[in-house]
């Protein structure tokens, strides 16, 4: 009952906005081309979700059901986020671990990192196209850069902030350097590293939308830009809402994963 109540409470503001928006649109306060009614957006979203073609011969029902444009776009974007993130985080994690553990390596790479870090991934777009041409590779590159720095910075901080008491306890138990690193420093640093992963995924998701506006012909970012060409504002908004939902889904999944990996952690918020 309480859950229902809080759900209704949470739904109040969005519903109110939708109602006012719908009313304004129906009253003709603004042109449908500039700002379509929410009901029109919902209808468009539904059409965007459903398969565009009738079921072809030899095509399975499920395959047909999933052949809609929206699902294809969402899948393409998600694929780019994951591939780019895996590349970026996969490079950042080992580098961050050695930079955190070794002061000399840290001092060697740090100036470079500090200069490159403030450059927004978007600023790499011209180079990305020059270097990688069109298609997925420039997207992967941009997303990897977006994911790289948050994971790197947090991994360095995580390794550097390992409580000295754990190191002393471990040395007292007779661990060697490698075991100290894999069984003590690495797990002790995971809360920081996972916070970096979460920020990195968020950045990757922002970058994927932008990167799709330049070099590819599918994905959610491409679709809303394409819709603009035709002045389909209902489709633009439907695409934006899909981006929001996908982002929420990714963040929820990462947060679930965090909760599982950090089930031992004291300061965990549930």
């Amino acid at each position: 009952m309480n859950k229902l109540k809080s759900l209704m409470h949470g739904a109040l503001a969005p519903v109110l906005v939708l109602l006012v928006w719908e009313a304004c649109a129906r009253a003709g306060l603004f042109s449908a081309v500039v700002m379509p009614a929410p009901s029109a957006v919902a209808a468009k979203w539904w059409a965007y979700l459903l398969p565009a073609q009738p079921q072809a011969e030899g095509q399975s029902y499920l395959g047909w059901l999933l052949s809609g444009e929206l699902l294809h776009d969402a899948y393409s974007s998600l694929y780019r986020v994951i591939a780019g993130f895996v590349i970026g985080a996969g490079l950042a994690l080992p580098l961050g671990l050695v930079m955190g553990a070794n002061t000399r390596i840290h001092d060697f790479f740090n100036p470079l990192v500090q200069i490159l870090r403030p450059i927004p991934p978007i600023a790499y777009i011209p180079l990305a196209i020059l270097w990688f041409g069109l298609g997925n590779p420039p997207s992967f590159f941009l997303i990897a850069i977006g994911a790289f720095f948050p994971v790197l910075m947090n991994t360095i901080a995580g390794v550097r902030h390992v409580d000295g008491i754990y190191l002393r306890a471990a040395r007292n138990l007779g661990v060697n350097q490698l075991t100290l690193f894999t069984r003590v420093i690495l797990p002790a640093a995971t809360p920081y590293i996972l916070a970096g992963v979460r920020i990195g995924i968020g950045t990757a998701f922002i970058v994927v939308i932008v990167s799709e506006m330049i070099a590819v012909n599918d994905g959610l970012g491409f679709r809303i830009l394409e819709a603009r060409e035709f002045m389909w504002s209902d489709k633009i908004i439907a695409g934006m809402i899909t981006i929001g939902l996908l982002g929420l889904a990714i963040d929820t999944a990462v947060s679930r994963l965090n909760n599982h990996l950090l089930r031992w952690h004291r300061g965990l918020e549930h």
Binding site: Y166, N172, L173, G174, P187, W264
Partner: protein, 263 residues
Amino acid sequence: MSQILINNVQKVFTTPGGPVVAMKDIQLTIQPGEFVCLLGPSGCGKSTLLNAVAGFQPPSAGEITIEGKKILSPGPDRGMVFQEYALFPWMTVAQNIAFGLEVQKKSRSDIAQTVNQLLDLLHLKDFRDRYPKDLSGGMRQRVAIARVLALDSPIMLMDEPFGALDALTRRNLQDELLRIWEKLGKTILFVTHSIEESIYLADRIVVMTYRPGTVKRDQIVDMPRPRDPSSAAFNALKRELGALVMEEQQRHANAEMKLAAVD
């Protein structure tokens, strides 16, 4: 056997305000199986001495040997129990206890057997798969003791292990520790600032002076166990040691006042 020889040990820390002599001229011989308490106010160098024996901070001068071998680094022959427990929070109770054995590359079945014995010995059976965050302070310290016992080291170093516990839990763990010590015959070097705790536990109490830490009194406690803290003998010794510790506490307080006045 594991006799600890502390030979003319000195420790100087360099601080921004100049060198501080944390301890000097410490000369102690601890016999195998002996339960020794280091007693004194904070700043008397008792933890510094313990850390030197543990091998975390080597002394500036003098040497510490165990069975004639000089201590150069920390090692599992001297298990340490910390006041802050220092359990690995990402490991369950059983994993924490097993960790030292895994490091020593013991076989799986040996590890499982030792872990089960220790869970039994310290009444931790029902908690084996819990994480430290779900345990009370007393329970955590039991796990920390079990983790050190797993190493089967002849020497246990304890740095105010019960300092953060409430009085009842504290007494309970003191009794457990005595029971384990009598059963396993460990040599225990135990740091505390509680006079009562030292008399309750130790064969021998080493009272230390405030900075520089030196041995002020080396007191044998010749009372049968279990000791009764309300007995006349207990209280006579408590008064006597109390006066010694208070002198040092006073020097500590004066030194701090002087510092405050300079500021």
